[in-house]
């Protein structure tokens, strides 16, 4: 036995979310979960499975179907010092609760002269590719990154999902954790113990010498595939997963571009006005002298997400689209 290596535990992304929530409920006595279908059913994606049984009915609450009520509850309860985890079944439903998010949760501390602290964590599900059409598939991170007072993280692996949920819950500010529905089955290493991933630190998921790809959310995995294809063109791409969009780790990206001289930003959100525009602009401001080409951007077209799998396949950016954009940018 003594010589046996402890095999690292692997879990799917969905179970890593559960593990993160479980760690939060263990380490924070006044943390509790609220949301639609979360307690009795364990959530419509199943990532609260077992929480009710393990922690009991005073730590996880099913709610009436009112997203505005849920966020309002989160604001009010967190103002008392509780650390609620509020669940928004689909990120698209931010439309139902945007006043509570943008005018209340985000700015309350500022407008109350700093006299209130809102340690509330919101988990929500984004992403296209599952044939759920335009009201259940959007990536609306640009909406919330634009709101001073909020923090926004987007875990792309099981490891990051657990670690970022724990960090979000420990943070004394409202943090929105944007999950991705297409990643739920993705396997990865997830340590048993509780661990935090610093909010605001990017992760260089693939080091490279002469090209920088900043990939948001699930596009990280497409960027890694694209990097393999780009090898044939003599391009050694560095892939950066910012993990946190607000605050954004500008330094890591700029440092990379100073080395590689060329950059592309990719997200599955609509390209126009997406967070990629902000990132490209920062690169141009801070690393202009190092750039050999304009910063390229890949995102969804300026239209709502279609339902039809045949149409959706052409809507959501992928590795091929990234490679095509690199070629266009470099004129090859």
């Amino acid at each position: 036995m003594a010589e046996a290596q402890v095999k690292p535990r692997t879990l799917p992304y969905v179970a890593a979310i559960t593990d993160g929530v479980r760690a939060v409920l263990r380490e924070q006595d006044n943390a509790f979960v609220v949301g639609e279908d979360v307690a009795g059913a364990g959530g419509v994606y199943g990532y609260y499975k077992g929480i009710l049984k393990e922690f009991g009915p005073d730590r996880i609450y099913d709610t009436p179907i009112s997203e505005e009520g849920i966020v309002g509850l989160g604001v009010g309860a967190s103002a008392t010092g509780c650390r609620p985890i509020i669940d928004l079944m689909f990120m698209d439903f931010m439309g139902e609760c945007m006043d509570e998010i943008s005018n209340q949760m985000a700015k309350m501390r500022y407008m109350f002269g700093g006299r209130v602290t809102l340690p509330v964590t919101m988990l929500t599900m984004a992403g296209a590719g599952a044939s759920l059409a335009a009201q259940h598939s959007q990536s609306l991170e640009a909406w919330i990154c634009h709101l001073p007072g909020l923090k926004v993280v987007m875990p792309t692996t099981p490891y990051d999902a657990k670690g970022l949920i724990i960090s979000a819950a420990r943070d004394n500010n409202p943090v929105i954790v944007v999950l991705n529905k297409m990643s739920l089955g993705m396997m990865g290493e997830v340590p048993e113990e509780s661990y935090a991933i610093p909010i605001g630190e990017a992760n260089i998921v693939r080091p490279g010498a002469n090209y920088t790809i900043v990939a948001i959310g699930r596009m990280v995995h497409e960027a890694l595939k694209a990097a393999e294809q780009l090898k044939d063109l003599g391009i050694d791409a560095e892939v950066i997963d910012p993990r946190s969009l607000q605050p954004f780790d500008t330094a890591t990206v700029v440092k990379s571009v100073e080395k590689t001289h060329r950059a592309l930003v990719v997200h599955e959100a609509v390209r126009f006005g997406g967070i990629g525009a902000e990132i490209a602009s920062q690169i141009q401001e801070l690393a202009f002298d190092y750039l050999d080409a304009p910063v390229a951007r890949v995102g969804a077209p300026f239209s709502p997400v279609p339902f039809s799998p045949a149409l959706e396949a052409h809507y959501v950016p992928n590795a091929d689209r990234i490679v095509a954009e690199v070629k266009k940018q470099l004129g090859i």
Partner: protein, 424 residues
Amino acid sequence: MQVSCTTCEGAMSNKPTLHIPHPPARPGDKPDFSYVALSDPGAVDRPEVNTSVRAMAYLSEELIRVMDDDGNAVGPWHPHLDERDLQIGLRHMLLTRLFDAYMVRMQRQGKISFYMQSLGEEAISVAQSMALRPTDMLFPSYRCQGLQVARGRSLVDLMCQCLSNTNDMCKGRQMPVMYHWARGKIFSVTGNLTVQFPQAVGWAMAAAIKGEDNIAVAWIGDGSTAEADFHHALTFAAVYQAPVMLNVVNNQWAISTFQGFAGGERRSFASRGPGYGIASLRVDGNDFLAVHAVTEWAAERARRGHGPCLIEHVTYRAGAHSTSDDPSRYRPRDEYASWPLGDPITRMKQFMQKSGCWSDDQHEKLTAELTQHISESWQDAESYGTMTTGPFLDRSELFEDVYRDMPAHLIEQRDELRRLIGED
């Protein structure tokens, strides 16, 4: 934190505790519907359509019923429909049910990706549609396919929408069952709950502004009443006395949460109406005759300028929430068998047999005829394309209809996509 799961509020303790609604039965338990407040069939009176909201407030707590357990129609709400209408009603309900069952099968076989059935709730859509005028505008939820059927929509059209093929009315842009029908005056189903309620009020107000006597009719579920749109709709409808009929289909469940989570434990959903100044009625949603009568009453009230109505239909969601849902995780498997208001089709059939205008033989023949009609329609629908075989929707559909006229930057994006996938 202190939580109580009992129904005895504030028991001995002097401190506030939270009440967490708890469904009367979980998987493995014996079903228990003792919480459903019933009135005897025929026992509730039928006031004049111009009765004041205050004077008819009790109708929001009673349960209007016409059919009794033995298949007799009794009391002042008996609509005395003629034989032909009864047969048409039964036919539409049966077609809706068989169509649903067929589409659920197609989903299981992987031919469509998603479906939502209305099993057990067919009487509501069908009877209401028949009690309204064809020019009244309908704002359905995703569980109102009976409206499409009763207004004569071709099944091929409905199937093509679910297949998202080249004949899909939504052009590949909406989830299955989110139908619309401009000619049939049925508004689009949407993926965000309750939004149709204020929209229906807006439509009704516009109708009144234009001097028409058409009314607007909308449906949501019990769970959806928790959304703020419910409040917006009732407030606007009451303030402007808009000619609108707002229906809450209380099928006891909202995905995994029972109606107690929408606030149905202490007062009925209908009883919210009088608080807004809206005439409200609570009806047995599995009783075709009662639903028909109540709808006629509310439509007349709205049409004659006496204002909006809220109707709660008490029914039961006999199937899963959707094909992505497994109700055995949260409720007893056999709960429907114990539902005190029975099954709408069984009851209608019993009533018609008793009144001598229907027979087992006719029922069997009708079932066979409709079954064949459905499978023939499916073959037709598949000829417009399936999920795996063509013809497929044109890729440029991605860019059409974002605006009334395609702007230059979308034309550019469309052309670029064509270049990228080598269509140019």
